[in-house]
């Protein structure tokens, strides 16, 4: 296969500890190699920044609620579609891009591996159809477990081994990647229009608490030794004062150690922490508790998190936290879509406008940045917007700009309509720190890859890893004339390679490569009890047959990449 040599770029690779030294990166047969032959194609990266392809740890980009968002928001596409151009299919959607546009936009920013944050297991065929139709980027999807009837029944009886067997079965049936938990217990309560707002609220009928669900799933996850940890969206999202529920949730991970063969060190990944870091008692005295949250995260090394930065755009919220979306439509009266999924989960969708003129939105923006700037270990704190909830992923370069330039973020902070109230509600104004390029590489490449158990495969430029490389028109050697240059450079990469194929040149798509669907294949000991429970629930309670539920043929996952886990010797 093709050989490339990316010459003279300023390389930032946390995996090898390269902090901006001028270095060459060699690609052969889809992998990073030490050297290549003289016939290798030369990519001139002089004066440019070179990093591994970025890794998106949490975005809503494929599946039924994403598509419900697309269907019900024609206005999200009005006047902003892009025409068919060369090998690029036509693209549409600002906050909820079409699958084609999703792949192209991520690739143009140098993202090469992206995780769909929440897959309702019953809809796995839909998720995989969309993943298949998203060009270039490798993708995986996280099935949700935190409101699953099997899980709640087993964990009520402390049956961790059975829970683990069920997880293994479900990951295989849905070609899923990790154990995702959203509003544990609360979304089952939402099946009756109720919720669980604290970790101790019992789930109606199932009579198990979110705390028990979370701890049980951590234990099952470590029992199996999965590549990623339990990935959680805690209870009580978005409410003033919710930070306490968040601290309670983080506390549940206390004492657990990661067990796996993938280099992962955390037992819990908390997602879109911004939405979970609110103080105050109401919208009037709403304030940031990012300091308290980060004090905890900084001092507990078995946690990783992502930020969920607000970008101050009109966007669309969508989450498996069904009751939250109902609550949100009560606040902003915008169109509300909801879908409860039998035995498994729910989803809700509501448009939202993060206006800089609204004090609460501006404080939310501040909190997202605070969290990242207060992080002591950039290998454990990753940058996301919980796309599209806090903003479209196409805004990542703008978020990088705010994190890397105090001037840029102060300019935004000081020009808010209620600036003094906004500044008073968080510590952002007093933070001088500017994220460095090396730290950016940790927070968007090496860190998320390691958290996902992909440390040997992507997120770095070490020989042997996949040749996922991004080159940006950004010269770290020159003093930064204008922070806008950060946003410009990271919006359109000069060159992007995915698995050794050149996919982007000067911001244009030049190849769609051969994307893979990442999933986790777990071998467990035979468990007749769990198999019998599965069979029974399909016969009695599901609305489709077990055989059809497990049917996920080649046409859905044409290029699978399975991470093998052997949990039979536990």
């Amino acid at each position: 296969m093709a050989e490339y040599i990316i010459k003279n770029g300023f390389v930032f690779d946390p995996v090898q500890g390269i902090k901006g030294e001028k270095s060459d990166v060699a690609i052969k047969d889809g992998k990073i190699v030490k050297d290549v032959s003289k016939s290798a194609k030369v990519i001139d990266a002089a004066g440019k920044t070179v990093m591994a392809g970025a890794v998106e740890i949490h975005a809503h980009i494929a599946g039924p609620k994403v598509n419900l968002g697309r269907i019900y928001r024609p206005e999200d596409k009005l006047f902003t579609c892009t025409p068919t151009k060369g090998i690029e299919r036509t693209g549409s959607g600002n906050s909820i891009p079409s699958t084609f546009k999703t792949g192209y936009e991520y690739a143009k920013m140098g993202y090469t591996t992206c995780m769909e944050a929440a897959m309702p297991p019953m809809f796995s065929r839909h998720v995989h159809e969309e993943i298949r139709d998203t060009p270039i980027i490798d993708e995986g999807a996280f099935p949700v477990f935190g409101n699953n009837w099997f899980v709640m029944e087993y964990l009520k009886n402390n049956e961790v081994e059975n829970t683990a067997a069920y997880i293994a079965w479900l990951l295989r049936a849905t070609k899923g990647y990790a154990v995702k938990v959203v509003n544990p217990g609360g979304t089952e309560a939402w099946g009756w229009g109720l919720n669980c707002l604290s970790i101790n609220d019992p789930v109606p009928y199932f009579d198990i608490t979110p705390a028990e669900i979370v701890k049980g799933l951590i234990e099952a996850n470590e029992y199996l030794g999965l590549p990623h940890s339990m990935h959680i969206h805690p209870n009580n999202l978005g409410n003033p004062g919710c930070y306490q529920t968040t601290l309670d949730t983080l506390n549940l991970a206390e004492g657990y150690k990661a067990k796996n063969k993938f280099g992962r060190e955390q037992v819990m990944h908390i997602t879109h922490m911004q939405f979970h870091s609110y103080g105050g008692e109401n919208w009037g005295n709403f304030e940031s508790k990012a300091t308290e949250i980060m004090n905890y995260v900084n001092s507990h090394k078995n946690l990783t998190m992502d930020t969920g930065n607000v970008t101050l755009d009109e966007t669309t919220t969508m989450t498996a936290d069904g009751p939250f979306e109902h609550h949100l439509t009560g606040l902003n009266h915008l169109k509300w879509a909801n879908c409860d999924v039998e035995l498994e989960t729910a989803a809700g969708v509501v448009p939202y406008i993060y206006s800089p003129d609204i004090k609460v939105c501006a404080i939310q923006w501040s909190i997202g940045l605070e969290l990242a700037l207060l992080a002591k270990d950039p290998m454990r704190c990753f940058i996301t917007t919980d796309h599209p909830n806090a903003g479209p992923f196409t805004r990542y370069p703008r978020v990088f700009k705010w994190l890397m330039s105090k001037k840029a973020r102060d300019e935004r902070l000081n020009t808010f309509k209620n600036a003094d109230k906004v500044i008073a509600a968080s510590t952002l104004g007093s933070i001088d720190r500017e994220i460095t390029l090396y730290e950016l590489a940790q927070m968007t490449r090496a860190g998320p890859a390691k958290s996902l158990g992909l440390a040997n495969i992507c997120g770095g430029l070490k020989p042997g890893m996949d040749a996922d490389v991004a080159v940006y028109d950004f010269n770290p050697d020159k003093p930064l004339a204008d922070p806008e240059m950060i946003e410009t450079a990271f919006s359109r990469a000069a060159y992007v390679f995915k698995s050794g194929v050149q996919v982007v040149t000067h911001g244009d798509i030049v190849s769609i490569g051969n994307k893979r669907t990442l999933w986790v294949d777990v071998k467990v000991n035979d468990n007749p009890q769990v198999m019998r429970d599965i069979k029974e629930k399909f016969l009695k309670y599901y609305s489709m047959t077990q055989a059809n539920y497990e049917s996920l043929g080649h046409h859905f996952v044409p290029n699978p990449f399975a991470l093998e886990v052997d949990a039979t010797q536990v």
């Binding site: 598509n67 419900l68 019900y72 068919t84 809809f123 839909h126 159809e129 309670y541």
Partner: protein
């Protein structure tokens, strides 16, 4: 000897039953019997066995007779027609699997066509309402396991979705509904005394064309505001009784159909029904679900949406998608004389469209892809028969509650016949050559 194929998915209606059992001959060439399907579903399988099926494309001649041509020639004709048209319409898709729908979308994009599905005459108005106000809904298993209050508004599942009530909505004993239909209350709103209405605990015979007013009255009653004595032919006491039944339930759901999507008000009827549902969520758990017709119209909507952004009536003539039913919708395009070529697949607009629109199909160059001879094939210039989806080929489909189920192949198609997907791939590759695309 015979074989039994289990977990077969019925490719007829949006109920998408997936528990069928089909007995076939050992050589996999003949269907002998169908179990568990309703009469319509069974017939869908059994009629595919007819000995007088058209098995090759046929081109209408100037004298009105039909001449058999090869699939290659048919693909040439179709590709030339689509690639050369200024505004071709590619309509139907609702009885076609998702894989074929996707190839169709590729062709539509290359040819800068309009692509539309049967929602245009069916639940398109529901989609417009959803776009205006949202959609609190659920999967059918939630209804089976939790629902104790069922409303059928403007639909007649006894006839149109025969197994809906036994599989999901009225009779099943689910996890929290162990008493089956005895634990459920049924309200039917329909001007007619249908077989479904005869089963109801409350039947509201709404005045035709005034569903919007009646739904508005429900919302007024829920808020405890003043009501006139009679709304839409229903006395206010009955309205208040119905809303009390709805508020008193533990989990309610409104199923609705053409009685409201295609009667006066159309999308507004659905809009207000969704508003009623949303209002009821202040009191109890309530959802709403459209009774989708063709087995994969939902799938066409899903594929169009994730690829182009809109669920039907997509106009790609400017090289990017645009959407506005009334402008980009098939009947309007045909009636107004906007299109110069018609490609119809997996549906029968000849039978379902107003005659003024069907006349237009007959006046322009037209291709009809359908296993049957239909009113549409009758007015088209080229008729391309293909294998029956879900019988002679598998492929993904989406149920009325958006759940994806992969259909199964049960028997081989007659010798030499192609599937929709295979034919479309031939057309696509020819279009690529004509357009000079790699």
């Amino acid at each position: 000897m015979t074989k039994s194929v289990t977990d077969v998915v019925c490719p007829f209606c949006g109920t998408l039953c997936d528990d069928l059992e089909v007995t076939v001959t050992d050589d996999g060439k003949q269907i002998l019997d169908v179990y568990n399907a309703c009469a319509i579903g069974a017939e869908k399988f059994l009629h595919s066995q007819a000995k007088d099926r058209i098995t090759r494309p046929r081109l209408q001649q100037p004298d009105g007779t039909w001449k058999e041509i090869s699939y290659d020639e048919a693909a040439d004709y179709t590709a030339k027609m689509l690639a050369g048209a200024k505004k071709p319409l590619m309509y139907g898709w609702s009885s076609v699997n998702c894989e074929a729908q996707s190839v169709g979308n590729e062709i539509a994009e290359m040819c800068r066509a309009c692509v539309d599905n049967t929602a245009a005459v069916c639940h398109g108005t529901t989609l417009i309402a959803v776009q205006d106000i949202g959609l609190p809904t659920c999967t059918l298993g939630e209804v089976k396991n939790r629902a104790d209050t069922i409303i059928f508004w403007g639909c007649n599942p006894c006839h149109a979705h025969p197994r809906h009530m036994s599989r999901y909505s009225i009779f099943p004993r689910g996890f929290f509904t162990g008493k089956g239909h005895k634990s459920r209350k049924l309200v039917v709103v329909d001007p007619r005394v249908t077989d479904t209405a005869k089963m109801a605990d409350i039947h509201l015979q709404v005045t035709q064309g005034q569903d919007y007013e009646l739904l508005n009255a429900f919302r007024v009653a829920i808020r405890g505001e003043w009501l006139p004595d009679v709304v839409a032919g229903i006395p206010k006491e009955k309205i208040i009784e119905a809303t009390n039944v709805m508020k008193a339930g533990r989990f309610g759901i409104i199923f609705f159909g053409m009685g409201v999507t295609q009667s006066l008000g159309k999308n507004h009827n659905i809009d207000e029904a969704i508003a009623v549902t949303k209002d009821l969520n202040e009191y109890t758990k309530f959802s709403i679900m459209p009774m989708r017709g063709h087995y994969n119209v939902t799938g066409s909507g899903e594929v169009l949406a994730w690829q182009f952004g809109y669920p039907y009536s997509v106009d790609l003539t400017r090289g990017f998608p645009r959407y506005n039913p009334g402008d980009t919708s098939s009947i309007d395009l045909l009636n107004r004389g906007e299109i110069d070529a018609a490609f119809v697949i997996g549906s029968d607009p000849g039978a379902h469209f107003p005659i003024s629109a069907v006349k237009k199909i007959s006046q322009v160059n037209s291709v009809c892809v359908d296993p049957h001879i239909t009113p549409t094939s009758g007015v088209s210039k080229l008729h391309v028969p293909v294998a029956f989806n879900g019988v002679e080929t598998g492929g993904n489909a989406y149920r009325m509650d958006n759940v994806p189920i992969d259909c199964r192949k049960v028997v081989d198609a007659p010798e030499g016949m192609l599937t929709d997907e295979q034919f479309l791939v031939m057309v696509r590759d020819r279009v690529k050559k004509l357009k000079g695309v790699a």
